[in-house]
């Protein structure tokens, strides 16, 4: 994290505004906040994550690539803003070609962070990035009760501007015209600690956006509180007792293809199996040729270039070697399912040989007892 003194653009809420400012953060401050959340996700592997005050859902876009997440929810009170960047939330081409392991749904709701909606219960992580300073005093008062008391996720991240940092900006009283207040470190920490105590959370304080050298002890530009629920994750059990309360209006919802879906898994498996079979077949055909042609001609001349192809661990190698070998009979080439199952990429997609057989049986040709895949040995 470094600062440069020059004219530059800085960002608030993902919106680029060029303004003459003395301090520039690199990466931009909003990115640093998102990266902070990203790192938390990396560490704690939450399954269900919600972002209150998600704005144009940029944080959700940033988080959607994490393989551990199965549900991503964004809530914002500004309906126009939620919709603006939707295309970034739909699956990439790659998500179709190489589907995720776990399901992922992304849902955006139009609603307020101080309203209760039971669809946000039982989350592992709720983030409120630069949210609280936009709340009117009454809403701010309700906020802990809703988020900590009602939603009660395993972890909460709250970030807000640190007003002690403001004097470093030229002529800024509040950083955004919609801010209702900006707290100094003490104010934030007092509020946060009280809330944490009341709802049985622990809290740690940190921040992003370090002050420039020589600026004194003003603290981070953005202060962050990370709240963790004390005690077991009892959330799941209490959901059942709650009444369903649907207050939010769903404005967007998408679910990603994943290997949890049977058809997707089937295609992925057949893909992988046929690739492996073709690979083995080609290798086999070449080995026959070498026997005929005399191997000496096929010496490698590459020298500098190393290209190894797939890399296996020792264990994987022994597994493959232990498994029954492919064979040919007449003009047909057979690869035992056991053999295919030994390859990690195939193995990943099915639990055992029987499930594999069941999944590939209607698209691939098998031998009579169903123990091996059968293909033509030669092209054409």
């Amino acid at each position: 994290m470094e600062q440069n003194n020059k004219e530059c653009s800085s960002s608030v809420g993902g919106f680029q505004v060029p303004i003459k400012r003395i301090i520039q953060f690199s990466p931009p401050l909003y990115r640093q906040r998102y990266n902070f959340v990203k790192n938390l996700v990396d560490q704690h592997k939450p399954k269900k994550v919600a972002d209150l005050g998600c704005g144009n859902a940029l944080l959700i876009q940033t988080l959607k690539c994490h393989s551990c997440i199965e549900l991503l929810v964004g809530v914002d009170i500004n309906k126009d803003k939620i919709g603006s960047q939707r295309c970034g939330l739909s699956p990439f081409f790659g998500d179709y070609l190489s589907p995720r392991e776990l399901n992922l749904s992304i849902i955006l709701y139009h609603g307020s962070a101080v309203e209760r909606d039971s669809r946000l219960l039982g989350f592992d992580l709720i983030t409120c990035i630069e949210l609280v300073e936009h709340l009117e005093p009454r809403d701010l008062a309700d906020f802990p009760q809703v988020v900590f008391g009602y939603l009660s996720p395993a972890m909460i991240v709250i970030s807000t501007p640190n007003s002690e940092f403001n004097p470093l900006f030229p002529a800024v009283t509040l950083r955004d015209s919609d801010h209702k207040f900006e707290w100094n470190r003490k104010q934030f920490q007092t509020w946060a600690s009280d809330v944490a105590n009341l709802y049985n959370y622990s809290v740690e304080f940190t921040g992003v956006g370090e002050p420039p050298a020589g600026a004194g002890n003003v603290g981070y530009c953005t202060q962050i509180g990370v709240f963790r629920k004390i005690g077991a994750k009892a959330t799941e059990s209490c959901i059942a007792g709650q009444h369903d309360e649907y207050v939010y209006k769903m404005v967007y919802s998408i679910s990603y293809p994943s290997l949890q879906q049977k058809e997707v898994r089937k295609y992925a498996l057949v893909n992988e199996v046929s690739r492996q079979v073709q690979c083995l077949r080609r290798g086999y055909v070449i080995s026959l040729k070498i026997l005929q042609d005399d191997a000496s001609e096929r010496l490698s001349d590459s020298g500098l270039i190393t290209f190894s192809g797939p890399v296996f661990t020792e264990l994987e190698k022994t597994n493959i070697e232990k498994s029954p070998k492919p064979f040919s009979f007449g003009n047909k080439f057979y690869v035992p399912l056991e053999r295919l199952f030994a390859y990690p990429k195939v193995n990943r997609l099915c639990d055992n040989v029987d499930t594999m057989r069941a999944l590939i049986a209607d698209t691939m040709k098998l031998n009579r007892d169903g123990s091996a895949v059968k293909v033509d040995l030669h092209d054409e």
């Binding site: 505004v17 060029p18 081409f93 179709y96 190489s98 992925a268 698209t363």
Partner: protein, 895 residues
């Protein structure tokens, strides 16, 4: 950085239009099967299909061919049915100059087109108004003969209020804002504009409603509280027919299709959520649409056609591994580069496509690169941090793609390194296209019956009508998306086939091979001295075949004497040296029975016998001759080809015009040397249009515009003079192989060449000239409604209204049958016409000419001279790579 220099050097060498680089590209070709395409029995499926990847622009039909399909109906006959998307990128089609000033506002240094990319090439052709010069069709260009037929189209009406106008504004910011995103956000969020329909690129703003003032001053506050003044000044008011509007409408529809959760790849839109999976071949087909909005004869129409994107469920790394297994390490890098460079890949972690421009073998994922903020990071860490992706193979090389800045065409191309493991291939490699089984499956999946196609179109229209966002978008612009358009076409009378002493009315115009068996062909030369070269193993087959050939020859009236049979080893060199050894000038024809469809057999033989030692040759695969129960039809087909190669005539149709010369011109790229274009020119030299004069030249060029037409034309006129003792009264030229955006060049450059050659040829009355541009790829599709279902229109259907363009003398003709799949009409645009034939006669003459392709006893999709020219250029581009000898010019040696 030598690697970089290398890339740049290569990039330039490869693509003459450097502006194109880095732009995600794709081009189309139809996976059609055309009976007439390949040398019938040599079964060069491999050569034929690999052509797909190499020739994109004019997408002549190359198809999935097997010897069986070449001989037997109902082969394919799918004549260009569905377009497969995603092919090796090519700079082939239309070398557009990018005219930037097309839509510029007066003072802006930056135009809408410049920012949004380039003006689309096909739109450039819209400005070419050739009809106004043709006085005889100024008022009416429709024909009259034939039976009217009601046709459903893939066109949808787009209605606008009578007085609708598009208002173009120029927007300036004070203080000036650099960021385009920022400019757009500020403008869009302003109250004044938030409810208006608008298209804005940061500088030029289009509105459908006029602002009250000519110059409007608005001010907006950034989130920081800074005030920015926006000055919106009216620059132009455009009527709905303006080409600018067409472009804006396209932008609107692009927005709408995105709202229907389709993804844009290249110019088309696809739905990856409803894929057709072919997992046994590691393929995914994404269904989608290619759409356009344009001004047709009397109104603005939206056209949509079903398209598929082929994706491979295979990463580049997996592809490389497969290749490595196949070829071994020796020469691996070269093979790999040859196979991969030019391909378009999709990356796993974003929605971008890249063209592979090079492979950097020295960079590994463990190496570092500099991020935009200046920090160094390894590729592995970057992908982990940024996208939670673990790169498993740390030894893989990097793919290099040149990125082009969108904003500034002069900027030096930036390079992107891509990890093969994270890239997916799109389109089909030549290795894949040569896999007959696979291509069959793909074609099967992509082929849509007229009904299937109609259902998809109806669903799209329905989706557009139902989707709230889409409806809102249309309404705010004042557009009304109407229903599918119907029109009336005409089915012109069928043609009689003239044989020797017999006039036959074939049962089916699509295929009269049965009728051929009973009647003698028009004229032949007897084959007295000829050679057969075959391998030892093929001796028996050859003998069987020979007796068969003589039998069928006899019934046709083609006398075949015994050849000299030479047995050789199974190597291309052995075949070639046998030819050299046994050849003498009296030999009329050389037949080679090839043991395999390896390209070098065919290429080396054809090359030698077409130019070094010119004599007609016939290549046949052993496998073809081994087909059980097929020998008679195989032999018939070969006998017919041999007759043509010796200068014979098979059949004719009645041509009412006496003294008419027809010419076909086609242009294609050389398969090896992309800098060379092959121009084929085939002209008829008798009034019956049964004998042809064929010339071909390789020209160094970056465009598909023919350069040597004068020489060819004069040559053809001289030939005609020699045979007919006079010049032809009329010359009609059919020009195929025209890329998008080239129409203007054609009018300005090729037509004058042709015109000056006909005028110079004679001192008094010169031949009258017409030039017709032939396009096998066009947007409209036509269906007939029969018993509540839709079918392909009958053969000979002509459409010359509504779906045509007001500024052209044009028509559509359906002259080929499609048993499965949907037929593609051929589009004819008469760009020059001294002959002044009635449109009706022009249409019927064109239809007649579609009967005269001697490689297929049936109708084909384009006039025979075009198909001959195509066949000739294809042979030269794929196999010979040099000009065939003039001695062969009088026979159809390339069939």
């Amino acid at each position: 950085m030598s690697g970089r220099a290398r890339v740049r050097a290569r990039g330039i060498a490869r693509s003459p239009s450097a502006v194109e680089m880095g732009r995600p590209q794709s081009s189309q070709w139809p996976p059609s099967v055309d009976p007439s395409n390949n040398e019938a029995l040599s079964n060069r499926g491999f050569v034929g299909t690999s052509g797909i990847s190499q020739q994109c622009s004019d997408s002549t039909e190359k198809g999935v061919n097997s010897s069986l399909e070449q001989v037997m109906p109902p082969f394919g006959l799918v004549a260009s049915s569905d377009s497969i998307e995603g092919q090796r990128s090519s700079q082939s089609s239309g070398k557009a100059s990018h005219y930037k000033d097309n839509i510029s506002s007066d003072d802006a240094g930056c135009t809408f087109m410049e920012r949004g990319g380039k003006i689309r090439r096909d739109l450039m052709d819209l400005g070419v108004c050739t009809r106004e010069k043709l006085t005889h069709v100024r008022d009416c260009k429709t024909g009259s003969s034939g039976i009217p037929v009601k046709l459903v189209t893939n066109l949808f009406s787009l209605d606008l209020p009578q007085d609708w106008q598009l208002y173009q504004y120029h927007v300036t910011y004070t203080p000036n804002l650099e960021s385009r995103r920022m400019r757009i956000a500020l403008l869009y969020s302003h109250r004044e504009l938030s409810n208006k329909a608008k298209a804005f690129d940061g500088v030029i703003l289009f509105l459908s409603q006029k602002l009250e003032e000519k110059v409007t001053e608005l001010s907006s506050e950034t989130q920081r509280g800074e005030t920015v003044k926006m000055t919106i000044a009216l620059t132009r008011e455009l009527p709905a027919s303006s080409p600018v509007c067409v472009q804006v409408f396209s932008i609107i529809f692009r927005k709408i299709l995105k709202k229907l959760s389709m993804y844009q790849i290249g110019r088309n839109f696809y739905k990856p959520s409803e894929p057709v999976e072919i997992p046994q071949h590691n393929l995914s087909l994404w269904p989608g649409f290619t759409i356009s909005v344009s001004q047709f004869e009397s109104r603005l129409l939206f056209s949509a056609d079903v398209s598929y994107k082929i994706l491979r469920n295979e990463t580049v790394l997996e592809f490389m591994t497969g290749l490595c297994h196949q070829t071994g390490m020796s020469g691996f890098t070269q093979t790999c580069e040859k196979q991969l460079i030019g391909f378009i890949v999709l990356t796993r972690y974003n929605n971008k496509t890249y063209r592979i421009d090079d492979i950097d073998w020295s960079v590994k994922p463990t190496h570092t690169f500099q991020k935009r903020d200046g920090t160094e990071i390894t590729y592995v860490d970057y992908y982990k941090q940024q996208y939670d992706i673990t790169v498993s193979d740390l030894n893989q090389p990097m793919l290099v793609s040149l990125l082009k800045s969108k904003r500034n065409d002069n900027a030096e191309a930036r390079m992107a390194h891509l990890i093969p493991e994270l890239c997916f291939l799109t389109g089909l490699s030549s290795r894949v296209t040569s896999d007959f089984q696979l291509m069959k499956v793909v074609a099967e999946e992509m082929r849509l019956s007229p009904l299937g196609r109609q259902q998809r179109l109806a669903r799209l229209a329905d989706d557009i009508h139902r989707n709230k966002d889409a409806r809102f978008e249309l309404e705010t612009w004042g557009l009304h998306f109407g229903c599918q358009m119907s029109l009336t076409g005409r089915v012109v009378p069928s043609e009689k086939i003239l044989m020797q002493d017999h006039i036959c009315q074939p049962a089916s115009a699509a295929d009269w091979s049965k009728d051929m068996r009973t009647w003698k062909i028009l004229s032949t030369q007897s084959l007295n001295k000829w050679l057969i070269i075959c391998s030892d193993r093929a001796e028996n087959v050859t003998e069987n075949f020979l007796s068969c050939l003589r039998r069928v020859g006899n019934s046709m009236g083609f006398n075949v004497d015994c050849p000299k049979i030479i047995k050789v080893q199974e190597t291309p060199a052995a075949f070639l040296s046998a030819i050299q050894k046994h050849f003498d000038p009296a030999v009329q024809l050389v037949m080679c029975i090839l043991p395999s469809n390896q390209q070098n057999y065919y290429d080396s033989i054809k090359k030698y016998l077409s130019s070094d030692c010119p004599v007609p040759s016939q290549c046949v695969l052993v496998r073809t001759l081994n087909k059980q129960g097929m020998m008679m039809s195989v032999a018939t087909k070969i006998a017919m080809q041999m007759t043509c190669k010796l200068g014979g005539e098979l059949w004719a149709v009645e041509i009412p015009l006496k003294s008419l010369m027809v010419v076909g011109i086609d242009v294609c790229k050389d398969a090896f040397n992309k800098g060379m274009a092959v121009v084929g020119f085939v002209a008829s030299i008798n009034p019956r249009i049964t004998r042809w004069f064929s010339r071909c030249i390789l020209q160094k060029t970056t465009t598909d515009v023919a350069d040597c037409l004068k020489v060819f034309m004069i040559g053809a006129l001289n030939k005609w003079y020699k045979h007919n003792h006079g010049l032809p009264a009329r010359v009609i030229v059919y020009r195929d192989g025209v890329g998008d955006g080239q129409l203007k060049t054609l009018v300005e450059y090729e037509v004058p060449q042709l015109l000056s050659s006909v005028t110079e040829a004679s001192s008094n009355v010169s031949s009258k000239l017409s030039v017709i541009v032939v396009r096998k790829k066009c947007m409209p599709r036509f269906f007939t409604e029969v018993n509540r279902t839709v079918q392909n229109p009958p053969l000979g259907t002509v459409v010359d209204s509504e779906a045509t363009r007001p500024e052209c003398y044009d028509f559509y003709l359906i002259s080929q049958a499609a048993c499965r799949g949907t037929v593609n009409p051929t589009y004819y645009n008469v760009i020059y016409d001294d002959n002044g034939l009635k449109p009706d006669h022009m249409q019927r003459l064109t239809f007649k000419l579609c009967h005269l392709y001697y490689n297929w006893p049936g109708l084909i999709s384009i006039p025979a001279p075009c198909q001959y020219a195509h066949k000739l250029t294809f042979l030269v581009a794929q196999s010979i790579h040099k000009e065939p000898s003039l001695e062969l010019a009088n026979s159809l040696f390339y069939l």
